[in-house]
Symmetry: C2
Subunit: 191 residues, 2 copies
DNA sequence: TACAGTAGAGAACGTTGGTTCTCAGCGCAA
DNA sequence: TTGCGCTGAGAACCAACGTTCTCTACTGTA
């Protein structure tokens, strides 16, 4: 059981690297096997099919995202700071060498139309993030629609950073978020 | 030459429908042929390879997007209205039955890592849109960073609407855009 | 040493996909 | 009418891929 878990981890890590860099369908199971350094038999013992593996990779990415956001907001003291920490997290991520956009958005574009399991996994992740932002907005005492707006900025930043490769994308998102938060809080106080 | 042009149009329209609904790599050339109602020979006479076809489809989408945005802003009188018209255009698009996100973002996620031609086509489209917004922001007399912020909202709206299927996504983007525009104009006046 | 069970490496299998080729049928000039 | 070039339909071809199978080598045990 211990070895099986280790196999799963190794395969997921390898597949994640390859899928993220090249897309899912451009990567054969043989490439995954080579990257994981495992015989095909053990790969298929760990995951019965490529579909299963894709879903497992997305689940792993989901945990990584949650940890990253949580880590970035660790030092934040107020809901406002915790909200803005999301964009700081994005900023760090965008700067990494292998950054190629949001793996969930990429997977959805590639497989969402043909794989219900993938589509669902992506929806779950996006819903969880929206929920996270909504809770912080609620803590802030602002209107729920602020959360939707802040989510749009985060999503847009991810695709824009991936495609254009521009730096300062996260800065723009953060600056916009500040304006929106302040406006929402002011409106809230006024009413 | 006339027939060749018609063939190209038919193939591009057919491929666009299929690629957009299912992703590029999930659609075989045979399916394109069937959808276009053309013999394979004429298909390959019009486009030498699937890669060429993909690029042509993106170019076609680009024109469609430009026309859509231009059409939505036709009745707008001020730069502010023209900027907000972008989100009205998105709103109408999000409501269409076959909506499945931004074809460029989808293509980038699927093929950007392996096809330089696709990656470039996507970058070109996004850059053109950014330019369009920048020009309007300049007309407005606001700071250039406002344009970057408004682009993020539009991009985020497209992916969020596609994945979550929520309605009112474009409304949230538009509302946020109004706040950002007003704040930028106010800041501009103050300085 | 002899043997049973297992694990690794990669061949093999069946399918699919992109691309090319074949061949039958048709319009048309002499 | 006869032959010629072209067109359409789909078979054929080759490569790649997901998945399974085979065979060899090795480990541990009596």
């Amino acid at each position: 059981m211990t070895e099986a878990t280790t196999d799963r981890d190794r395969v997921v890590a390898a597949a994640d690297r390859l899928f993220y860099a090249r897309g899912v369908q451009s990567v054969g199971m043989d490439a995954v096997r080579t990257e994981a350094g495992l015989p095909l038999k053990r790969l298929y013992a760990a995951f019965g099919s490529k579909d299963e593996l894709v879903v497992a990779v997305l689940a792993h990415r989901s945990r990584t995202w949650d940890d990253g956001v949580a880590g970035a907001s660790a030092g934040a003291r107020t809901p406002r700071e915790r909200l803005l920490a999301v964009y700081d997290f994005l900023d760090g991520w965008f700067g990494s060498d292998d950054f190629r956009g949001c793996a969930f958005i990429n997977a959805y574009g590639e497989l969402g139309g043909v794989s219900p399991a993938v589509a669902q996994a992506v929806r779950d992740q996006k819903q969880a993030f929206a929920r996270y932002v909504e809770d912080l907005v609620a803590d802030l005492g602002a209107d729920r629609s602020l959360a939707a707006q802040l989510v749009l900025l985060a999503e847009g930043a991810q695709t824009t950073a991936a495609i254009t490769g521009a730096d300062r994308v996260a800065d723009h998102a953060r600056a916009a978020a500040e304006v929106l938060i302040d406006a929402a809080v002011r409106r809230d106080r006024a009413s």
